[in-house]
Structures are given as structure tokens and as C-alpha cells.
Amino acid sequence: MSTREWINERRSAMARLELLQGAVMSELNGWQQPLHYGDGASELKMLRESVGIHDLSPRGAVRLVGEDAVSLETGLFSGQKELAVGQARECRIAAENETVSLLELRLARDEFIFLTAPGDAETVTEFLRSPPASCVHTIDISSGLAGAGIVGPQATFLLSMITELDVSSEAFPSLRCVQSRFADVPGLLVRQDAVTGPAYQLYFTREYGEYIWEVITQAAHHIGGGPVGTEAIKRLQDGC
């Protein structure tokens, strides 16, 4: 084997379309991610006034499933009350030298998903490792999911263009999750509002990445929004 150092670029399922849409890519957390689409100021404006969509595929996702999932989860997050099905919560775990932030979703009686920052899935998988005798399993499904963040005052309206679910603030407030069909393919929707307004995360199987991205960018364009890069998201979060 050659002693060559491998330079590995991870790409999301939407990378090809993002490039076609004018994305200026940059390496972030080991992933090629759109920094902006040519005009960061317009993207920030979209996020504030209509809707911006951004690629969440680099995020990690770990599935915890099994009859003993609840007892394991309760043991690991002692002090927290049991999460109801369809609810989500922000939490942290202490890893070796760091604290990892998570978004915990309860999808079913015996099934949880833990969403993490890019690169943290392995740590979380290890954290959730179950005792050998119990019937609970963890699996890192980060690579199988593509994701799109949908942020802005028109985010709810955009979702109404791809799902029949009622995702209004009354019916689907922040920190809720639901599995359903979006633009005719299965997906997982999480609402985690930002200070600036409604914000959703839509996850779907990676092979549908281009399809979903095409559908939601077209929908966003129709209502005055569009794709945004990591720069605009960061500026929004920073309150610029």
C-alpha cells in the first residue's frame, strides 16, 4: 500500500445541485459545504424576511431502538423527565474531553434519534452503547440521512407546499418531531425555532437528496426565498 496521505472530501447528496445553483463551496468539519451562493447579504435577507434553506447533511444522527431503549435513555439522562413520543429536547453529554450538544427526538415508544453536530455521531454512539444483555441497539445513521434546514418567517408556508401536515406554531410548536411524507417521500421533520423565528429541520434518506433539494428550492424561489450558505446562517445566529 502506498504511504500517500489521503485527502478525503465528504460531499452531501445535494452537492451537485448546490454547485449548479452557484454555491461557493468550502471545507467545514471535513465536508464540502456551501459558504454562500454569490450574495450573502441577500441570503441573510431571505432568512429574515422570507425563507432560506440550507444543507444539514453533515449533521450526525444516531438511532437508538429496542424494548430497553427507554430505560437506557432514562439512565443516561437522569434527572430529565421522560420524553413523550413526538417531542424533542436539547441536551448535552459529557464525552472524554468535551461536552457534546444533542437534539434528542423520540419517534416511537421504543425508538429515539439523537442529532449531533458534524463529527459527533461516533462519540454519541459510544455514549449510548448498551449493556450486552439488554435489548437495545444503536446505529449511526448519519450517512443515510440528508437534511435541509428551513428557516425564516415563510418556513411554515414553504412546508405547506410539500406536506399535508399541519406544521403551524399551534399544531407543531418548537421542539416537536414527526415522521411523514414530504413531497411524496418519507422524511423526518423537527422544529427547533431560532430566536429570529420558525426553523425546521427536514431529514430524508440520502438517495432522495437531489430530489428534495430541487423541490424545496423551487418552492422557496416561488415565495421569495432560496438556498443560503453557512455564512448567512452564522450571521443570523450571531444576530448580525
Binding site: 500500500m1 502506498s2 489521503w6 478525503n8 472530501e9 465528504r10 460531499r11 452531501s12 447528496a13 452537492a15 451537485r16 465536508w31 447533511s57 438511532r63 431502538v65 429496542g66 424494548e67 435489548c135 441497539h137 446505529i139 445513521i141 448519519s142 450517512s143 443515510g144 440521512l145 440528508a146 408556508f157 405547506s160 407546499m161 406536506t163 399535508e164 401536515l165 399541519d166 403551524s168 399544531a171 413531497a183 411524496d184 417521500v185 434518506t205 440520502r206 438517495e207 432522495y208 437528496g209 437531489e210 430530489y211 430541487e214 423541490v215 423551487q218 418552492a219 416561488h222
Partner: protein, 965 residues
């Protein structure tokens, strides 16, 4: 003064007289006002003929002016069948007439009207069918002559329609007084309401109603226009009411799901409660030449006057059986139209005070009379009037006129009520079908309930709106003839009398859409079509663009009168969505196809691959030459994207038991790191799927399925999981892992450049797996050989797909690596005799027939399909899947028959040209007695039988030496 034209300003008009808009109609420049519809602009410009009729090409003018009838269908900027009466004008738009040549005025095909006696209803079922050639010619001619505009196939329409869904506590359909009252009352209860109205402004019929209402609580002394404005203002000020104007509810489905077309949006609205306040249509009268331009519904004339400030004619006759006719006459008079007479079918005036008023203003009232005939060519010039009592012996009186306003009572717009599951019954007191039962959560108010008095409409609306806040069942108060309705028992009788006189005449049109006359209907009844449903289908009445809005009530009335049955006995035709015509583009919405793409999709396209759809996946068929690619694999090394394989992660202590249950072979004895082919059958023993199973750990397996079956097999696993034990979990990881197969005599050399894993044949044997890094990427390597060469299937996290593909092709460059596609893979696997489930098998093929008995372990515990397989064995195997090699160089197509003694006895499932043999070869189903090595079979190629010999062994590397090397 012009006969028609723009009149003085009206209190309820919706045009902006200070803003002009110009557009073209049949090449002529039309100057309109902002707020005009195409029709109102054309009418104001003196154009009163808008279309030619469907069958006889008779000139047709304005009928309803409300978007319900077929009379004003035009083509606008290439879009056919636009209703001119509801499409607003826009600067520069190009309007063209339809269904007339060379012009709307001089239509060559209007000659058909002279020969109408040759084309009675249903003539095409009986005539022109022999000889057969005649029907082919006639059918083409009929299609050419009939129709409603044509689609410009050269035009690429914009995808302008979008879909969205919406939710509400209460949906109110109809923005008239009852609908607005319901919405306001529901809002008072704290509900969120969506109010949907098909007009640009709220108010319904009040928008052009200039009479003063003295007895309506809260609105004493106000005109209809004033009341509409006040209520619309209240609605607009409510934070709880969202108004959807210019929107049509075209379907009401289960669980109160409404389909709405609102401009460029198709909205699916799910509401907890629905109030239907859709109003009523005015019914046209039936008399000879009742379709002449200049003859319109009274409400249409009122709309022209009240909304657009247009004087619809100079000299009018109003024919009616309700007080609405009297009101219309007064409004026409106010608009400067001379009213020559009111022809009232009632023997006595429905409202004596009103009768006195019109008489006082000099309008002649002919009580107990009806219209017999309209005269004129291309425009009404006069009417013949006769008594309704049948005393036609007296000569009908001719009254000259250029405008006839007809008002034959009401037909409630009950389509949505029917679709919601409401039951309706004919109320003889008011002459209308009204709801007698409404499903839970559905409410109705206003004209649709047979309630035509404004005060009661408002009360009913408020009641419905208030009721939506509770869990009360809908109440259906009976329509009260004494208080709420305009029609009386006498007027109903009068209406029936109006119908009965028209049945002998062949130019009295009942259905304006399909050119069906009253006589056509009686003709069809005489032929035996007495049932309203079959009568509808045979005559096509109510099957045109209006969907029965103009003709439904009259059809039932004629049928009842002619067959001497009651209207309740006749019943009504069924209302189905769409209630209003909807463009197909609106239903389809934006053009998106949910296709799956592999992580290397972009690279395949860059490499010039011909992409094909394989199930939902986009896959490379080839990169130029499948034969060259196949040869490269046989001689050097090839790489193929197999990311499309279904992949399941099966974990748990009970995982081995589940796999043993689902597969025909055994996996509980599979060692960790080993790989086994798996065959899966359905309950009846038919092959369901196949793939490989790799044991990653004692309690963890990696399962692959065929590309198209991943989701189905995941469901199959979950379905049977309960029978395997409590602790097993399946995760579909198809998208999580990209996969490539690197195969060929130099595959080892190429891959060895990228990994520390020892690929030596003795260290990494056939049907074994290893986990390690390739080009720095964590991979699962499985040594299998679908294409018949030494090769490795690499599975890796999808995000590394492009990188890994490029790394492998770069490493393999010195070994002549070639990308190969689906077609080359098909050739190579065929040479090895490997089946593709679904291609070489069908829904009845069992493993004994495919000669896969080696993969069936009957000595293990029960498994799915065991009974089917053993049963098939007991019954005897009648056909088998075998290989064949053509004697000639010909290659049969997939699916061609195998012939024996002149009869088809089997079929080819897959056939290709073998690069190894240089001959055509493949797999075929043959009778068991022919499934012998070397047996001759005949394959039908281009109608000639060609000899092939059966082979039971792979045509390439039959002993698997290269595979294991």
C-alpha cells in the same frame, strides 16, 4: 345611443373607470377598464357573441356571467377554454374565439345546424358503424368538428401551478350573505376560519342587488350592495377570518378535505368543520331558440349592470316565474333599458306590491304567460309569448326586443353537500332539492338550503357559524315557504308548465354544453333510458363544462313530466369532484419525479454515462460500449456502482432466528466474517428476493437485497419480526452506504494500492468479508462474484462516494480499469448463469424451477415458503429455467417464445451476445423434459425458429476457478 354599452356609474361596480386596459380579441383592439372581465369588456364594446356551440355550431352569447356555463369559452394567450366572464382583463392579452372557422361570425360548420335532424342524440352509437372504415372516417370528422378549443402542442406551458396544504377550524364555502354571516359567527366563537369564495369580492348576489331591505334586522333601509359592503368590511376586520377570493372548491372529500383552486395555487384544506353556503344557480327557461345571443339569465343582466356599469340591451323582455324577474325589470329600467314586458308564468303575481310597482313604472306584465320562441339570426330580435294554460290555439303574440332576461327559479348548488355525504330530497313546496341530512361537522346555510329570503339567510348563516364551535350535529331546518323562499307553490307549478311545452321542439336547448334539446331527452326516454343516470350518460346532458349547473334541474323536471313520475322518484345525477373544471396542470402541480441517485451520480454523468431509470434509481447503463466494458472486466479490471443495492442492518440476539425464518437457507450457523447467498420466498414458495448476508458479529448481520426491493424487504422483515423473537431490529441503511464492485483478474492489484487489507486469495477467500480502510475510508469489503471474476464489493459511508470512486479509478489506471454499467453487468452475470429476480423469475417461480434447490435447506426448522416449495415438489416441476446458446450468431430479444412442435412452450427471460462465446446466449424457461444438457430448443426470432442448445452450467468459468482465484 348604442344598443349596449357602458352606462352610468353603479354603486356596486367593481371597475375603475379611470384606469384603461387594452387587449386584443380576434385581432381587434378592445379598450377595457381595470376590473373588467374579458366578457364585460367585450360586451361593453358591443360584442355579444362569444362562441359557437359544441355540436351544431350555433352562435352563443352571454348566459350566466358567473363562470358556470359554456357560452363564453375562449382561448387566452394560447390557453384554451378560459371562461371569459370570470377572467380579468390584462394589458396586451390576446383573446381568440374557439370552435369556429373561418370566423366567429361566419362559421362554415354552422351548416350542421341545418342538418340537425340527421344527428339526434346518440346517433353515433347507431349510425356510421358499417363498414368499419366509415366509422374510422366519421370518428375523425366528429372529433374534428366537435370540441372545446384545441391545445397548441407546440406551446410549452409554464409550470405556473403550485400546491400547498392548509388547516383551519372552520371552512366556509361561499362568500355570500349566509357564508359571511357564518364566518363572522364562527369567529365570535374563537375559531380560525377560512372563507372561500369564487368571486373576486365578497357579497354574493348582494353585490349587484340594488333593492332596499327594510325588514332585515340590523340593515333596515340598506340596499343589497350596502349590506354586502358592510359585511365584507366586518370580515376583513376579523383577525380570525382568512378570505380566499377567486377560489373554487372543486371537491369535498372524506374527513372534510377540500380541494381548492385559487389562482395558481391548488390548495388542500383540511377543516374541522365545514359550512357550505354555495348559493343557488338561476335556472334557464326552455323555449325555441332559447340559446340566441341576447338571451341571458336575469342574474347575468344584473351583474352587467351592477358590477360593470353596462347597459345589456335597449329593449328587454323579462321572462320569469319568481319575484326576481320583477326586481330585474326595475333595475334594467334604472339602467336605461326599456322593458317591453314581464312575462310571468304565475297566474298571479308572486308579490303583488312588486307587481304594482312595475306597473306604475309603465312595464307591461303578462301574467300566466310563457315564452314560446325567440326570433332572430345571430341575435334575438323578438319573442313569441303565449298563455301557459295550454291554450296555444290562440296566435302567440310577438314582442320585439334585443334582450331577453330569463329567470326560471333556483337550483341549489348542492354538489359539495352531495360529495360530503349529505342526503337531499325534493321539496315540492319550494320546487327545489334541499338537504334532509348532513354528516357530522358539515353545515349548510342560505340559498343552498332553499332559503332565498335575506333575513333568514343571515340567521341561518349565523346559526351554522355558531354551531361549528360545538360538537353538535348539523341541524337541517326545513325550508319554510311562508317566510324564506321567493318561489311559491304556484310558481313551481308554473315552472313545470314552462318545461312541458318545450318538449316537442327540436331547437329548445336544455343542455348548452352539449347541444342537447328537450326533444332529445324525450327521444332518449322513448328509447328506454328512463333512469336519470343512464339518461345522463346516453344524452350527455350535464356532462359538459357546466357539469349540470344550467341543466340538472330541468333534466329532472322533463324526465318527471314525460314519464309521469315525481322528481323525488326521478332522483338526481351523482355529483363527483371536480365540481368545476380544473386544469390538469393544476392537479399535477410542479413537475418533480422522486428519483433516487447514488453518491457517485455526478461522476457518472461527467464520464458520459447513459443514465437509465432502474426502478426509482438513476443508474449508468453504459459508458459508451457495454461489450468493451464486459471485455475489460474479463481481461483486466472494472468498477461498477452498486450503491443501489438494498442494505439492511439486522441486529439483536434474535437476528439469526429471523434470518433463518425469512430465507430458505440457514444463517444461524454462518461464521462471523463469512458471507452467504440468500434466497427469500413468499408464503407460497415463490421467489421474492435474493442477495447476500454477511455476519458482522454474533448478533449483527449486513443484508443486501435487489435494488428495487429494499423498502419491500424491509417491510417484510418488520412484518415477520414478531415471529422471530423479541430482540431483533432492522435498519434500512441503503442510503447510508455507497457501494462499488471492483472485479477482474487485476482487481486485487488495483485495490491493493489503496488498502492494508491482505487481499491474497488464501487470506481473503471467496465469500468472506473484512472491515478496514480503503484510500483512508472505512469500508466493509465483501468478496463475492456476481460477474464471475475475482472481485470485491466495497460498502462505505455515502459521503465518501465520489472520493472513493476517483481514488479507485486512479489506482486502477495502470491496470486498464474501466467503469462498467448495468448492461455490461447483465452480460457478465448471464455468462455465469446468475438470475435477476423479477427479470428471470415471475411471481410464481419457485427455487426448484430455477434450479436453486441448493439454496433451500429443508432440513432446518420451518421457514417462509417451505410449504409452497415442498408442495410444488410433490406436484412435480413442469418447467425449469435453463441456459441456452444459439447455434447461429443471432441474439433473441428478452421475452421471445421457445417453440416446440409449432407451439410456444416457454420464453427467453434474458439474452445477450456473449463476449466469451461470440454467440447469442441467455436464460429461458423450458418444459422440464427439455431441461437437459445439450437438448435442442427452438427460439422464435423475427418469426423464424432458430435452434439453440440447452446448457445447465454457466457458459463462463463453469467451475468457478477464476471467481475464487
Amino acid at each position: 345611443m348604442n344598443r349596449v354599452g357602458r352606462n352610468i356609474a353603479q354603486p356596486g361596480e367593481i371597475i375603475d373607470r379611470s384606469a384603461a386596459v387594452e387587449f386584443k380579441s380576434d385581432g381587434r383592439t378592445i379598450r377595457a377598464q381595470q376590473g373588467d372581465t374579458i366578457l364585460s369588456a367585450l360586451y361593453a364594446a358591443g360584442i355579444t357573441t362569444f362562441s359557437r356551440s359544441f355540436k351544431y355550431h350555433r352562435p352563443r352569447g352571454l348566459l350566466c356571467a358567473a363562470g358556470h356555463c359554456p357560452n363564453c369559452l375562449v382561448t387566452v394567450d394560447g390557453e384554451p377554454n378560459v371562461r371569459a366572464c370570470i377572467r380579468p382583463v390584462a394589458p396586451g392579452m390576446k383573446v381568440q374565439h374557439q370552435n369556429a372557422w373561418p370566423s366567429l361570425r361566419w362559421d362554415f360548420l354552422s351548416i350542421l345546424d341545418r342538418f340537425h335532424w340527421l344527428m339526434p342524440v346518440g346517433f353515433y352509437y347507431k349510425a356510421l358503424h358499417r363498414p368499419k372504415l366509415l366509422w374510422l372516417l366519421a370518428r375523425g370528422a366528429i372529433r374534428r368538428v366537435g370540441g372545446l378549443g384545441s391545445i397548441d402542442i407546440e406551446r410549452v406551458p409554464e409550470t405556473k401551478f403550485h400546491h400547498r396544504s392548509q388547516h383551519a377550524d372552520v371552512a366556509v364555502v361561499g362568500g355570500g350573505p349566509a357564508g359571511m354571516a357564518a364566518a363572522l359567527a364562527a369567529a365570535d366563537q374563537g375559531s380560525q376560519i377560512v372563507l372561500i369564495d369564487d368571486q373576486p369580492h365578497l357579497g354574493g348576489h348582494l353585490r349587484f342587488d340594488q333593492q332596499t331591505y327594510d325588514s332585515v334586522p340590523g340593515y333596515q333601509g340598506k340596499t343589497g350592495v350596502d349590506i354586502a359592503r358592510a359585511m365584507a368590511q366586518s370580515v376583513a376586520e376579523s383577525d380570525s377570518i382568512e378570505v380566499m377570493s377567486d377560489a373554487t372548491v372543486f371537491g369535498l372529500y372524506q374527513d372534510k378535505l377540500l380541494s381548492i383552486l385559487a389562482g395558481d395555487w391548488r390548495v388542500t384544506l383540511r377543516a374541522k368543520r365545514v359550512v357550505i353556503a354555495t348559493g343557488a344557480h338561476e335556472v334557464p327557461l326552455i323555449f325555441e331558440n332559447n340559446d340566441l345571443p341576447g338571451i341571458m339569465l336575469a342574474s347575468a343582466a344584473r351583474r352587467l349592470v351592477g358590477l360593470y356599469g353596462i347597459r345589456p340591451g335597449a329593449n328587454a323582455v323579462v321572462a320569469t316565474n319568481t319575484e326576481l324577474g320583477y326586481q330585474t325589470a326595475l333595475e334594467l329600467l334604472d339602467a336605461g333599458v326599456n322593458v317591453a314586458a314581464i312575462v310571468d308564468a304565475n297566474l298571479e303575481s308572486p308579490k303583488p306590491g312588486l307587481s304594482a310597482t312595475v306597473s306604475a313604472r309603465g312595464i307591461r306584465v303578462l301574467q300566466g304567460h310563457r315564452l314560446v320562441k325567440a326570433t332572430g339570426r345571430g341575435q334575438v330580435k323578438g319573442v313569441l309569448v303565449a298563455p301557459v294554460d295550454g291554450s296555444l290555439q290562440s296566435r302567440p303574440e310577438r314582442i320585439p326586443c334585443d334582450l331577453v332576461c330569463m329567470s326560471g327559479g333556483y337550483q341549489p348548488v348542492d354538489a359539495l353537500l352531495q360529495q360530503a355525504g349529505g342526503r337531499l330530497s325534493f321539496n315540492a313546496k319550494i320546487g327545489e332539492s334541499v338537504p334532509t341530512h348532513l354528516p357530522s361537522g358539515i353545515y349548510a346555510a342560505g340559498d343552498v338550503m332553499g332559503t332565498h329570503g335575506l333575513a333568514t339567510q343571515l340567521t341561518q348563516g349565523r346559526l351554522a357559524g355558531s354551531s361549528t364551535a360545538g360538537d353538535w350535529n348539523s341541524s337541517v331546518p326545513a325550508a319554510d315557504a311562508n317566510d324564506t323562499v321567493v318561489q311559491t307553490a304556484d310558481s313551481v307549478a308554473a315552472a313545470n308548465a314552462l318545461v312541458s311545452g318545450a318538449q316537442d321542439d327540436s331547437r329548445s336547448f336544455l343542455c348548452f354544453c352539449e347541444d342537447v334539446t328537450a326533444k332529445d331527452v324525450t327521444f332518449a326516454i322513448d328509447e328506454g333510458f328512463e333512469d336519470i343516470q343512464t339518461l345522463k350518460r346516453y344524452t350527455t346532458v350535464s356532462m359538459g363544462p357546466c357539469q349540470g349547473k344550467m341543466c340538472g334541474k330541468s333534466l329532472a323536471a322533463i324526465c318527471a313530466d314525460y314519464t309521469r313520475r315525481s322528481i323525488d322518484e326521478i332522483g338526481a345525477t351523482t355529483s363527483r369532484p371536480p365540481y368545476q373544471p380544473v386544469p390538469l396542470a393544476a392537479l399535477s402541480g410542479p413537475s418533480h419525479m422522486p428519483l433516487k441517485r447514488s453518491p457517485m451520480d455526478r461522476l457518472h454523468r461527467e464520464l458520459g454515462a447513459s443514465m437509465v431509470e432502474s426502478g426509482l434509481w438513476q443508474r449508468p447503463l453504459d459508458y459508451g460500449s457495454a461489450q468493451d466494458e464486459a471485455i475489460a472486466v474479463r481481461q483486466r479490471v472494472g468498477i461498477i456502482d452498486v450503491s443501489t443495492l438494498g442494505k439492511l442492518d439486522v441486529q439483536g440476539a434474535d437476528a439469526p432466528a429471523l434470518l433463518d425464518l425469512l430465507y430458505t437457507n440457514t444463517f444461524s450457523d454462518l461464521g462471523v466474517g463469512r458471507v452467504r447467498y440468500g434466497l427469500m420466498c413468499s408464503d407460497n414458495g415463490a421467489i421474492l428476493d435474493d442477495g447476500t448476508v454477511t455476519r458482522l458479529a454474533q448478533d449483527r448481520f449486513f443484508v443486501t437485497t435487489t435494488s428495487g426491493n429494499a423498502d419491500m424487504i424491509e417491510d417484510w422483515f418488520n412484518w415477520w419480526m414478531s415471529g422471530a423473537g423479541p430482540c431483533v431490529h432492522v435498519t434500512n441503511v441503503t442510503g447510508a452506504y455507497g457501494a462499488v464492485n471492483v472485479a477482474g483478474p487485476l482487481a486485487r492489484e488495483a485495490l491493493s494500492k489503496l488498502t492494508d487489507i491482505d487481499l491474497d486469495p488464501d487470506k481473503f477467500r471467496y465469500m468472506r468479508s473484512r472491515q478496514g480502510q480503503v484510500a483512508g475510508v472505512p469500508c466493509l469489503l465483501i468478496r463475492i462474484g456476481f460477474v464471475g471474476e475475482a472481485g470485491w464489493e466495497l460498502h462505505f459511508a455515502s459521503e465518501h462516494g465520489e472520493y472513493l470512486w476517483e481514488s479507485i479509478t486512479e489506482a486502477g489506471r495502470e491496470f486498464g480499469i474501466s467503469s462498467f454499467g448495468l448492461e455490461a453487468q447483465r452480460i457478465l452475470r448471464l455468462e455465469k448463469g446468475h438470475i435477476i429476480v423479477g427479470q428471470d423469475t415471475d411471481s410464481t417461480s419457485n427455487p426448484l424451477e430455477t434450479r436453486s434447490e441448493w439454496a433451500v435447506h429443508l432440513n432446518k426448522a420451518d421457514f417462509i415458503g417451505r410449504g409452497g416449495i415442498t408442495g410444488a415438489a410433490e406436484r412435480g416441476i413442469k418447467q425449469k429455467l435453463v441456459g441456452f446458446i444459439m447455434e447461429s450468431g443471432l441474439v433473441p430479444e428478452d421475452g421471445v417464445p421457445i417453440i416446440s412442435e409449432g407451439r410456444p412452450v416457454g420464453r427467453v427471460t434474458s439474452a445477450r451476445l456473449s463476449p466469451t462465446l461470440g454467440k447469442g446466449f441467455g436464460l429461458a424457461w423450458v418444459p422440464s423434459h427439455l431441461a437437459e444438457e445439450g437438448a435442442n430448443i427452438e427460439v422464435l426470432i423475427s418469426d423464424y425458429e432458430q435452434t439453440a442448445s440447452v446448457t445447465l452450467r454457466p457458459v463462463y468459468d463453469p467451475d468457478g476457478v477464476r471467481l475464487r482465484s
